[in-house]
């Protein structure tokens, strides 16, 4: 019953604190609403008429120049995409050391590893790999494959679009070659015609036709494959990034709320007064955690409701997992708040929380960050919270997929709760 009394009291105090309520509920909306209204729902594409990027690795190179047919294919793709090839080490700076090592030399190998990384990280829908000997094979009328690397978790329509453009480009090369071969075969047939007809036709054709060399028509196959040995991710659209992102950012502002609550009780002498009542210390902490938990869950529910009702955000396929994840996220924030209060970390919290949220990928996808930041951000609970929400909302995964995130967040909660209890100055 003591827990209930403390819970209700703290809930009343929080709900009456306009500053805290504004920071927890209005601040995230102040970010979410303008961003979701300003950007198209399907991404941060500022220039909608700009061609999307398509990584290309062309191994069909002769004397430093693309093979004739590879060039035709590239030209064809360039009509629809901004081709990303001939990359340098600087272009690979965001990727692993292995990728950077390969990119020490500009060339198709660098282009290919970079393309694979970009697709795996969902920076690009797909990438094209043109094999060595592509042009020779076509000239020889042999079958040859062009590889399309794609991200299976990405919208299949986008992949099909790339496949269509690539297949079209391949067909163009193939048909041109078939026409040329047809013409050559026509030249052979012409030799059998009367001399006068041969002269007239050759005159209209601008000279002698090359000797006939009948060949088989080349067959260019497009083979679609997934990049292997990497974790496939799906980039969120504007809604999927912004709404969970700013919600997570401001859930962790509960840390400041808990600190302020303990600070008020300490500074007014209420904490000492509470301790001379029959209420136990554990009941006091539990009541405090429960009240902040309710506020935090309400905060998430409010933000997601705004996203769903006003912007059509879909919340994934596992509502139960969403609730459990939210409870784990809020618990981690509350327990960190208790620890911060115990260690009297009262200044500079806001800036720390904002920087933490940026590094964790709350304002923009964490994959945009350089590798070292993506390495250190696993120490932040916001990173796991964002990953959990992205798994559920963006990637449509289920409860099992977010168990690691829930586990890590509960681990954060347990560790910081332990630190709080250990350090808490009960004598005020």
């Amino acid at each position: 019953m003591h827990i209930l009394a403390v819970w209700l009291k703290d809930l009343k105090l929080l709900l009456r604190d306009r500053g805290e309520m504004a920071s927890l509920f209005l601040m995230p909306l102040a970010f979410i609403l303008p961003i979701c209204l300003a950007f198209p729902a399907n991404g941060y594409n500022l220039t909608e008429d700009r061609k999307p990027g398509l990584p290309v690795a062309n191994f069909d190179v002769t004397g430093g120049q693309p093979g004739e047919h590879a060039q035709t294919l590239l030209d064809s793709l360039a009509e629809s995409y901004t081709l990303e090839h001939n990359l340098t080490r600087a272009d690979a700076a965001a990727f692993s050391a292995e990728v950077q090592a390969i990119c020490a030399t500009t060339g198709p190998s660098c282009d290919e590893v970079t393309a694979r990384a970009r697709v795996a990280l969902d920076w690009r829908t797909a990438a094209v790999v043109i094999p060595a000997g592509f042009s020779n094979a076509i000239d020889a009328g042999e079958s040859i494959s062009v590889t399309l690397l794609y991200n299976p978790s990405r919208n299949s329509a986008e992949r099909q679009l790339v496949e269509g453009v690539l297949t079209g480009g391949a067909m163009r090369v193939s048909i041109e070659q078939q026409l040329l071969n047809g013409l050559e075969q026509f030249g052979d047939l012409l030799d059998l015609a009367p001399e006068e007809i041969q002269t007239n036709i050759r005159a209209s054709n601008g000279g002698d036709a090359p000797p006939a060399a009948p060949t088989l028509a080349p067959a260019i196959a497009v083979v679609s494959v997934q990049p292997g040995a990497v974790r496939i991710t799906t980039q969120p659209n504007t809604l999927q990034q912004t709404i969970p992102g700013y919600t997570v950012m401001f859930i962790y502002f509960l840390i400041g709320t808990v600190v302020a609550s303990v600070q008020l009780e300490r500074n007014t002498g209420v904490l000492r007064r509470l301790l001379v009542t029959p209420m136990s210390k554990s009941a006091l902490l539990a009541g405090k955690i429960l009240s902040a938990l309710v506020i935090g869950v309400l905060q998430v529910a409010a933000m997601f409701a705004v996203g769903a009702i006003f912007f059509g955000l879909t919340l994934g396929n596992a509502p139960g997992a969403l609730v459990v994840l939210t409870i784990a996220v809020v618990l981690s924030a509350v327990c960190i708040g208790l620890a911060a209060a115990a260690y009297r970390i009262e200044r500079g919290l806001t800036i720390m929380l904002i920087v933490g949220a940026l590094i964790a990928g709350c304002a923009f996808p964490a994959d945009w960050l350089p590798p070292f930041l993506r390495t250190i951000n696993i120490a932040l609970p916001q990173t796991w919270a964002m990953q959990g929400y992205q798994d559920l909302i963006t990637r449509g995964m289920g409860f099992g997929a977010v168990l690691p995130e829930i586990g890590v967040l509960l681990g954060f909660a347990a560790i910081f709760f332990g630190l709080a209890v250990r350090k808490f100055d009960w004598e005020g």
Binding site: M1, H2, A5, K9, K12, L13, R16, D17, L264, T268, G269, V270, R272, R273, L274, L275, V276, T277, P278, M279, E427
Partner: protein, 336 residues
């Protein structure tokens, strides 16, 4: 043999090298208002914190209602009420909500809680403003709600730690009346700490004087004052004349005469009961004369000084009260 609601035995509380409470022993009788009188930092609040179970003593022990405060703390907490020196209230809750919350912590529920909350709000005269937020109250009104929150569990022993600090005269009187009524009508035992000697004189049946963590006197206010005799005369002299001091001490109406330091003299004279001559900054020595009868002693001292040509730079006549008792015991004012 009186029944004791509280017995403190050789309480000691140390914080590193600092001894906040130093071997303090006293007992509070059932139905008694017991005052702990001492200046700020004397150890009064620390003593209350130990007795109310906020933290254990370094050594010594205490019992409340026959229950050891360390080993039976849960039961002790049920029979005590604590009104801390701080305004330990939630500013954004109303007075009623604050009192109600503390009532819930003592296990009160439903109608019983409602009735008790109304009762204590009535006791402190805050029913009309009870539904307003505490942050809108005056200092005195906050003090009254502070008192109400300490009464909500109907304690047998109430700790009142400096309950009148920073309040207006009206609220102060209200608090006095509330405390007196609680004791008179409900027989509630009260441990009252203050550094206002007039409060202790007015309310307390017995007073313990505490200074630097030590209990230096314990009796009824009347007997403590009576033990002082006629009062104290402070004489500002141009020189520290030992012959003059001995001669004055030998006068029939004088109990003792001792030289005090200049700083002690200034602070003691900051609130004299009656000022005959203002203390002058150029006084080189202050002779503190404890009189058995103030008027006789004053006449004899003035006569001696006149005869012996001893230059008097200032003269203070301090009426006998707890303030002068404290001054006599410690050589300094309660407000130091």
């Amino acid at each position: 043999m009186p029944g004791y609601i509280l017995e403190a035995n050789h309480l000691v509380k140390q914080y590193g090298a600092l001894t906040a409470v130093n071997d303090v022993s006293f007992a509070v009788e059932e139905g008694e208002i017991f005052g702990l009188l001492g200046p700020n930092g004397a150890g009064k609040s620390t003593a209350i914190a130990i007795l109310s179970g906020l933290f254990p003593p370094t050594s010594g022990g205490a019992a409340i209602g026959g229950l050891d405060v360390v080993h039976n703390l849960a039961k002790v907490k049920q029979i005590i009420g604590v009104v801390p020196q701080d305004l330990a209230l939630y500013p954004t809750l109303s007075g009623r909500e604050n009192v109600r919350f503390f009532g819930e912590l003592y296990g009160l529920r439903g109608k019983g809680l409602q009735t008790r909350v109304d009762e204590v709000l009535g006791y402190v005269g805050m029913q009309e403003r009870a539904n307003d937020r505490v942050q809108t109250y005056s200092g005195g009104m906050k003090r009254r709600i502070n008192l109400a929150a300490g009464l909500v569990n109907h304690p047998r022993l109430l700790f009142l730690d400096e309950p009148t600090v920073g309040v207006d005269p009206q609220s102060r009187n209200h608090i006095f009346e509330s405390v007196a009524r609680l004791n008179r009508e409900q027989g509630m035992s009260i441990l009252y700490t203050t550094h206002y000697m007039e409060e202790a004189e007015r309310l307390c049946h017995r007073v313990g004087i505490i200074d630097r963590g030590k209990l230096i006197a314990l009796d009824t206010p009347r007997r403590l004052i009576a033990a002082l005799g006629g009062g104290i005369i402070q004489l500002g002299l141009a020189t520290m004349d030992e012959a003059a001091r001995a001669a004055i001490e030998a006068l029939p109406a004088v109990r003792s005469a001792t030289f005090a330091t200049e700083s002690t003299m200034k602070s003691a004279a900051s609130r004299p009961a009656e000022v005959v001559m203002p203390v002058q900054a150029n006084s080189k020595a202050v002779l503190k004369i404890e009189a058995s009868h103030n008027n006789d002693a004053l006449l004899q001292v003035l006569h001696y000084c006149n005869e012996a040509d001893v230059e008097i730079l200032s003269l203070d006549l301090l009426e006998p009260n707890l303030e002068t008792v404290f001054l006599n015991l410690t050589g300094k004012s309660l407000r130091d």
